[in-house]
Symmetry: C2
Subunit: 310 residues, 2 copies
């Protein structure tokens, strides 16, 4: 059995059982893939794919099992390469992070700035996506780690590092009736058109649950993936906005009134997640340390987020 053959298997699954596309991914002609798959199937004595005529349709049960193990093999092989690079090119390489807009915009900038000075030869890649996509990215080793607020925490395949916790605030135009109200209630929020994060995003699940638990029906007129868009629409008088408190910028957003909602909604915990079996290079570990340090320092200053208590 060859590692090449396992790569082939994985590429085939990742390209929805299309050999030509898989071959392209691997920079090979597709006849080569065809041969490799044959050899692998012959060696194992079992078909790995369900075929319809000549075309591959899906994995067989044997294929499923072999595929799982193939992922383990390739993860370990990647780790070995990382170990090598760690030795030959200690401060040189790529750091790819999966994250949401919120992190990328409000948390990461100072960390990244500092990190880039420390490691000028490390190329930083930021991949944005929904929490679900971020989990996928980390699982498939397409990023080194993801920062997730709604990660599927029950997934025991991940190392999870609690990173910070944050709460929500209401933003309204200064002339809005709620702008000077103290102790805003859930009911108050239901009286006005609401703008907040799209479902499945950045802890929006908890917001909806909270309303539901209180048997209230909020009137959501618009939901957006990022805080800046929510702010824009609040400025356009389309409604009141609920955003992460840390997304409110005292200087740039001074035309909006920001009211703390920490008591109404549960705090969210954002974690760093990467596969348990992944080897982290030194600079990757350093980045995580810097991030935690930044959170504990700047977070406590702003009061909008802090280290989790876990």
């Amino acid at each position: 059995m060859e590692i090449r053959q396992l790569r082939t298997l994985i590429a085939l699954v990742e390209s929805q059982f299309n050999m030509s596309r898989a071959a392209e991914k691997l920079n090979l002609v597709q006849s080569a893939l065809s041969q490799q798959l044959n050899r692998l199937e012959n060696e194992l004595g079992a078909k790995l794919f369900i075929r319809k005529g000549k075309r591959l349709k899906n994995l067989t049960s044997v294929g499923e099992e072999v595929f799982k193990q193939a992922l383990i093999v390739l993860s370990a092989i990647n780790n070995i390469h990382s170990v090598g690079k760690e030795y030959t090119e200690r401060d040189f390489g790529v750091l790819s992070i999966g994250t949401t807009h919120m992190q990328a915009r409000y948390i990461l900038p100072p960390v990244i700035k500092y990190f880039s000075q420390l490691y000028p030869d490390v190329e930083l890649q930021i991949h944005q996506g929904t929490p679900q996509q971020l989990v996928q990215l980390a699982m498939n080793y397409e990023v080194d780690f993801s920062m997730c607020t709604e990660a599927l925490v029950d997934n025991s395949q991940f190392t999870l590092i609690p990173c910070y916790q944050w709460n929500r605030s209401l933003i309204v135009p200064p002339e809005h009736p709620l702008a000077n109200k103290k102790d805003i209630s859930l009911k108050d929020l239901c009286d006005y058109p609401l703008i907040t994060y799209v479902a499945g995003f950045t802890g929006s699940r908890h917001v909806l649950q909270t309303f539901k638990a209180a048997k209230l029906q909020p009137h959501i007129v618009l939901s957006a993936a990022d805080s800046d868009i929510i702010k824009s629409y609040v400025r356009e008088q389309m409604g009141i906005g609920i955003i992460a408190s840390l997304a409110y910028d005292k200087t740039n957003d001074s035309d909006l009134k920001c009211l703390d909602l920490a008591k109404l909604f549960p705090w969210e915990i954002t974690r760093i997640a990467y596969p348990k079996d992944k080897y982290l290079r030194k600079y990757q570990q350093v980045f995580i340390q810097l991030l935690l340090k930044q959170v504990s320092k700047h977070g406590s200053e702003s009061g909008y987020f802090c280290l989790p208590e876990e």
Copy 2:
């Protein structure tokens, strides 16, 4: 990188950094190994072994890390082969068990007999050893699983299946002063020369701890690795014996008196252990099931052992 190269690395470590022996293991000439190691080290850009002149002395730190990952790779590759065989030769193969004399002699026979009828084409291999060796065997995939009483339970790399629990009995010649005594105490045991299992074996640690906790000093004249030897020496009047209760055979050992010591010493739990990442073939799973069934049935009859409560 080639799987072959990782096999080479592992073989080198397993043969104490002796290339010639490693080559023999792999059925290759040793120049081939030399080349493979070179290629691997070149690809990674780092030496994996500390050398003294031309000879290999030990792993470098890079080597250590690569070695760990190589073990993962080969475990997964083995699993893939198992999946294949499970498909092509469902009821055909080898089942190798690591176990102590006690299990092999007093627990396994009926299980093995039944299993052999179910799977006449599965070759059974029983590897005996000390608990430490059994752990090693399982860890290195040299057996499919080990049955351990004193397994290093803190080792999170193992799947552990509690199998049965058992207690100890005193065996004495029928004319011995203790033969008719009720409620034998720890102190009583210290009054006579004692014969029991060797240190590090079959729960002997707990026996010694119990005496120590009671500030008593037993007079151990002889320790042996298996119950039959202990019985022999008790028959020779060399002392009184402490053995696992289940090792006393009512018919064959009727010339010895057996007195339950369950209240004096803690119960031992025997577990099946195999690496978490190991793929178990059907017949291997069946064997474990049969074993558990046998224990629950025959154990409760004899009263000498039973299913653990965990």
